[in-house]
């Protein structure tokens, strides 16, 4: 059991409290799901509940954390607390230490003071419940996001603790991988484990949740039985992403009326194939995307979605077939030239930020393309994504949702006709995801062609005009979801 009483915490070198007089009780055998906007203090709550804040972090602390009836401060250190609590963090890659899946789990088991037979028995059992038996000799670095997260989970289960804390275990995962994690956690709950889960995907986990907690600004703004909590409409919008009605108000008719004539294709893909070493990633793909369309590309991890969009700006060159962007074959252009026409926003915005201010970060792209009137364009782009107030801030200080919007601003400032986004709502709560999708719909109304890779079928349903479903490197279906 974990109890937090009046816990406040301020990180070193900051003034704002990350947690503000927060009290929470996690009873034995229960499951609490914590959700809320990014920057609300959810990860800090995980660190507080696991005793990490008490032992490893500086900063200003007050309040009491009790773990299994004992004050967290009275434990000798993290290794001592780790005999009671297992924690799985969101970054699966950072939790891989060894070089094969089996070795990772076995190494964690070896420190529990168990007899060798018992270790072997538990190893087999853990591999079984986390569906890892077939992957036992694989290198963790070569696994998919979902598989890596299962390895991190398995290594934590190896500790055999009754209390488990999960910080966004499914944030980077697709539908299929998420369902696997849900299945594993449901089984753990049934075995009587006590679970504290920070997640944005409430709908996936609702069956196993006893208590739903919504956090905002470092404090709990709603707590209780999920059905009761969700009666509040404002809270419900945070917990469950709702994209309905986003596209309805957008004057999609505007670009349409201007182009009464047959639309011009902006991207034409003919018989495109591509493979990594000897593994085929795309096989005979044929797609024609027209100007002003909003296209959603959906499919499981490894279905070839990202490989496909990387062809649009020549990060990859077709092995066979052709990709024509605005009339030009990508084989004849450089990536830098194509950047004028195709803007690509990658899944993780942190892969691009290096400047000291938000303004300089956007200016980088403009300088590369030698675009004049930088200041005006930067202001316009920031205004578009609602970040004008953050112009002089350090990009990495922004919240996850704001960083995603900044990444979009960086690309729209370069004024490409085509904007491609890889999983733009990853790691965002309902409100933030809706804001991002609204921005994209507005861009579409201004005449941009929008292409979005997503696991989220709701986005495809409510925002896109067209949905392309990919599987094993092939286009399985290509349908118009809305009547434009």
């Amino acid at each position: 059991m974990i109890e937090l009483k009046d816990v406040s915490y301020t990180y070193p070198h900051t003034v704002q409290e990350a947690l503000h007089r927060l009290s929470l009780v996690l009873e034995k055998g229960r499951c609490i799901l914590v959700t809320g906007p990014s920057g609300a203090g959810k990860t800090t709550l995980c660190l507080a509940a696991s005793g990490v804040l008490c032992h490893e972090y500086g900063g200003k602390k007050s309040g009491i954390v009790t773990i299994n009836g004992r004050n967290a401060m009275d434990y000798a250190g993290l290794s001592d607390i780790a005999k009671n609590i297992g924690v799985v963090f969101d970054d699966a890659e950072a939790q891989m230490i060894f070089t094969t899946v089996e070795e990772e789990i076995l190494s964690a088991l070896e420190y529990r003071g168990l007899p060798p037979d018992e270790i072997e028995r538990r190893l087999a059992a853990i591999m079984e419940v986390t569906f890892l038996s077939e992957l036992k000799d694989r290198s963790p670095h070569n696994l998919s996001g979902g598989q890596k997260q299962r390895v991190a989970l398995a290594a934590t289960l190896a500790l055999g603790n009754e209390i488990l804390i999960f910080d966004e275990p499914t944030s980077e995962l697709d539908e299929h991988a998420t369902r696997r994690i849900v299945e594993i956690l449901s089984n753990l709950k049934r075995q009587g484990k006590t679970i504290l889960l920070v997640e944005h995907k409430y709908m996936h986990f609702r069956e196993m949740i006893d208590t739903l907690v919504v956090m905002e600004h470092g404090a709990i703004s709603a707590i209780g039985n999920p059905d009761d909590v969700l009666k509040d409409e404002r809270i419900k919008r945070i917990v469950i992403p709702d994209f309905s009605g986003i596209g309805d108000n957008v004057s999609y008719a505007a670009p349409k009326s201007e182009m009464a004539a047959p639309r011009t294709p902006v991207i034409e893909i003919g018989h495109l194939s591509y493979s990594y070493d000897d593994v085929p990633a795309l096989t005979d793909v044929n797609i024609r995307i027209e100007s002003g369309e909003f296209v959603a590309i959906v499919g499981e991890n490894g279905s070839g979605k990202t490989t496909l969009v990387k062809q649009f700006n020549r990060l990859l060159v077709p092995a066979s077939g052709k990709v024509v962007v605005l009339g030009k074959n990508t084989r004849d252009c450089s990536t830098a030239e194509l950047a004028h026409n195709v803007g690509l926003v990658f899944q993780n915005p942190d892969h691009m930020f290096f400047a000291d201010t938000v303004k300089d970060e956007i200016a980088f792209g403009l300088e590369n393309l030698k675009i004049e009137n930088k200041d005006e364009i930067i202001d316009a782009a920031l205004n578009e994504v609602g970040l004008l107030h953050a112009k002089m801030l350090y990009p990495r200080w922004l919240s996850r949702g704001e960083r995603q919007r900044l990444a979009i601003a960086c690309v729209i400032a370069m004024q490409p006709a085509i904007i491609v986004l890889d999983e733009p709502t990853t790691g965002l709560d309902g409100d933030e995801a809706r804001i991002v999708m609204k921005i994209l719909k507005d861009l579409q109304a201004k005449g941009h062609t929008i292409i979005v890779i997503t696991h989220n079928r709701d986005i495809a349903k409510y925002c896109a005009d067209r949905m392309i479903l990919m599987e094993k490197g092939q286009v399985i279906s290509d349908i118009h979801v809305r009547v434009a």
């Binding site: 891989m96 070089t99 094969t100 964690a108 070896e110 670095h141 991190a152 892969h351």
Partner: protein
Amino acid sequence: MSEILQYVHKDSFFHRLHPFSKILFIIVASVMCILATGIPFLVLMVIALLVIAYASHLHREVIRQLKLILLMSVVFIIITVLTMPNGATLCYLIPVGIPVIGGSVAITVGAIEIGLILALRFMVLIFAFQLFLISTQPRDLVHAMEKLHMPIDYILMFILALRFIPTLQIEGQRIHEAQVARGYNPGDGFIGKMRSVAPIVIPLVSNALLRSNVLGLTIDMRGYRTGTRTRVRERKFCTGDYAMMSGLVVTISGFAVMAVFASGLIF
């Protein structure tokens, strides 16, 4: 993507060896290649290592390093030619015909020989260490180093330094793509490389620091630093190890005998 210096899971005689045998193997190889100055002998050592790599199905990984090694070899030879002229002069870098500066920088046989020796030693060291690292599971390394009474924190540091290589490799590639997609074109050559530093290295280091925080917590929460542990599936000394030991003893004796009676080959 090919991973640099990472364990490659295969079943071969070299994989099955006890880490101690392999450590002894690299010590013997290192000492011999440092003592020896005969080019034929060093070439023989390189060939022997390649044969071992081939026999343990690791030749592809080892040969992949060849490009880097050849580049380093050329650099070694240039440095020795410029700084250590010795023996008969083959020719001059700047032909004698050119007025004033003509005839300077002599390319000598001795300098080329020293450069070659350094390059070959370098090859032996890299191949031997690489064979050791890619055929030994980090777990077995931890076991072996613990037995040698190394502090657990140093062992973990060693393992993690290796472990971060592929992570940085993959991450660097992604960051590069993200910046190129923003129209970034640093250009080729040395100036291009220098210019590309900030947009690639700053995100790479910032992300790695964030990641190392999670990694540190993971190590503590899994109890790796508490020490007491049950050893399972420990590598035992097997026939291969005894064969390796005998092989090493024969090699060392042969080396000593040749050093005394046929010094032309080794020195």
